[in-house]
Amino acid sequence: MSSVPENGTPIRNELFAGRVRSAWLFLTPMIVTLLIVAAWPLSRSIWFSFSDASLGHFRDAQFYGIKNYFKTITMDSGAIHHFGVLVDPAWWNAVYNTFRFGIVSVTLETVLGLAVALVLNANFKGRGFVRAAILIPWAIPTVVSAKIWGWMLNDQLGIFNDILLRLHIISEKIAWTADSNYSMFTIVMVDTWKTLPFMALLILAGLQQIPGDVYEAAEVDGVHPLSVFWNITLPLVRPALMVAVIFRMLDALRIFDLVYILTPNSSQTKTMAVISRENMFDFDKLGYGSAESTVLFLILLITVIAYIKIGRVNLEGNN
């Protein structure tokens, strides 16, 4: 204990000094770990994006400037060609695919999730059972669900075509995963199936925070149920909805496994994550793939920061 002057200058209580010391001590292992497993690899990835690294030589990779991002080559014939991620149509196609997928699937998941959450919020027999059952798609590993759906969507042997044929919705069998007209639809459908539980349960948690007397008051006042939904439920559940949407959106924009397994060869579904991994490991262009993954990282970073700013997330958690 330090000696204390008598004149009443502000003095930090030993308790708080000790607590702050302990806090940093407690945080150090986590921070060091995150630096090693996240910050260091990230910085190396970014370095690779400015280098000529390949799988065979990444230890002695040479600085390459921004050539992975953009470079101009003048042919002997005098024709000028531009190369690099920033002018690569395959990359921008992947960006387009990713956002198309993200926006369509998250919208669909939100609407359906809201519907399912409203059902689960009502009182009915077997509610607990239904709530447990809808968790099943969420519990199935993505790879497994991709395989199960791959089997169900198989063009010749799949049950999905069989059902649609029996219902006379389609007149001939469709190659859902191979036909580029349908592959994006397929990916959206399977992803929605898999993620609906997460969405529905997050929204349900928001719904359950609405006090019941709000509804009772509305019922006593004779408000039409649709009006109750539009004017009471939706505004009250909006904060939970906003958070769920952004979480899902960030998740959707980095989608990899579903596409990689279900529709590996379709340029209609190739996403940013798929194409950059493909360049790194399948085409042995580690530098070029890193440039793509770096751009992907920047896009997501901007989305996260915009989310925290616009959503006014209270991170301090002050009481």
Partner: protein
């Protein structure tokens, strides 16, 4: 056994100043009650004394030794919290033993001190129970027991009765009073917003408002000689009757205050009014008399009242029982 000397203490949370300069001497072995409306800073004062908050400026000294920089556990204090704050996963015994075990007491020592405290508070049969298996009153006693076991020089209570029902509150109040008598060397500081608790328990009361001390004194001093309008209105139940304008003018004051038991019905010459309501308590009757002010005056009579509702009456204060206040609210 510690006198506490608080000198020019202030406390700010960010830009908000909660304690705005407090000077107070608490004598060794005294039972001091901090009372005031919510937001007056009384709990903050207690937490500053406990060391659970940093002091922004000023000093707090125990027995002449400044404790500003000492952690709570080094101050020789024990505290009873509003929510009891019992460790839910520990038995009553473990709850009471936790602190002194950490302090390095031997097993026999721990055992002995817990047994004595448990005996004192009639908790011996419950030593092996978990807090959730106890009633509210029993939990409260465990919280007190946990404090006793620490053998503190200063005992701090933060609104300890506010979670109890009315009957239990009276009983526990008595327990705490007895505790104070049996531990007559221990300084106790007790925070409450309930002036009845303050009046019944305190050796001295410190009335706080808005980060300042309004008055410090024995319960009767505060009751009989309030420094200002605020203290006069805060202490005593029912509230003191305040009158101004033409009522106060003859007393050469901006306003005057008369307690309900110091008003009487007079045949003539008093303040004319009409009885609008009467609360018959059996032992006493409180009559609400409309004198033409915004609030009716309340007058207390022993037993039953002669005057029914709607009766035209005349009121007068007893001699020398009128409190006079200046424009700034100070007593004259």
């Amino acid at each position: 056994m510690a006198n506490i000397s608080i000198k020019n203490v202030t406390k700010s949370f960010g830009a908000v100043k909660v304690i705005k300069g407090v000077d107070l001497e608490i004598k060794s072995g005294e039972f001091m009650v901090f009372v005031g409306p919510s937001g007056c800073g009384k709990s903050t004062m207690l937490r500053l004394i406990a060391g659970l908050e940093d002091i922004t400026s000023g000093t707090i000294a125990f027995e002449g030794k400044v404790v500003n920089a000492l952690a709570p556990s080094d101050r020789g204090i024990a505290m009873v919290f509003q929510s009891y704050a019992l460790y839910p996963h520990m038995t009553v015994y473990q709850n009471m033993a936790f602190g002194i075990k950490l302090g390095g007491a031997t097993k026999e020592e721990v055992e002995k001190r817990v047994r004595i405290a448990a005996e004192m508070l009639q908790l011996t049969p419950y030593l092996d129970r978990l807090p959730k298996q106890l009633s509210g009153g029993q939990r409260q006693r465990v919280a007190i027991g946990r404090a006793i076991v620490r053998d503190p020089k200063v005992f701090l209570f933060d609104e300890p009765l506010s979670n109890l029902d009315a009957a239990l509150r009276v009983a526990t109040r008595l327990e705490i009073a007895k505790l104070h008598h049996s531990m007559n060397n221990v300084t106790m500081i007790y925070v409450t917003h309930d002036q009845v608790e303050a009046m019944t328990l305190a050796d001295r009361i410190c009335v706080l408002r808005d980060g300042y001390i309004e008055q410090v004194g024995t319960p009767l001093e505060l009751y009989e000689k309030p420094n200002n309008l605020f203290v006069a209105g805060f202490i005593g139940s029912p509230k003191m009757n305040f009158l101004n304008g033409k009522f106060a003018a003859p007393y050469k004051a901006n306003s005057i205050g008369v307690r309900s038991e110091h008003l009487e019905f007079v045949a003539k010459g008093g303040w004319p009014g009409k009885v609008i309501h009467a609360e018959k308590m059996g032992s006493d009757t409180y009559s609400f008399v409309d004198l033409g002010m915004t609030e009716p005056a309340i007058i207390r009579e022993t037993g039953t009242s002669r005057h029914g509702v709607d009766a035209k009456v005349s009121l007068a204060p007893m001699k020398d029982k009128v409190h006079r206040f200046a424009v700034d609210g100070k007593s004259i």
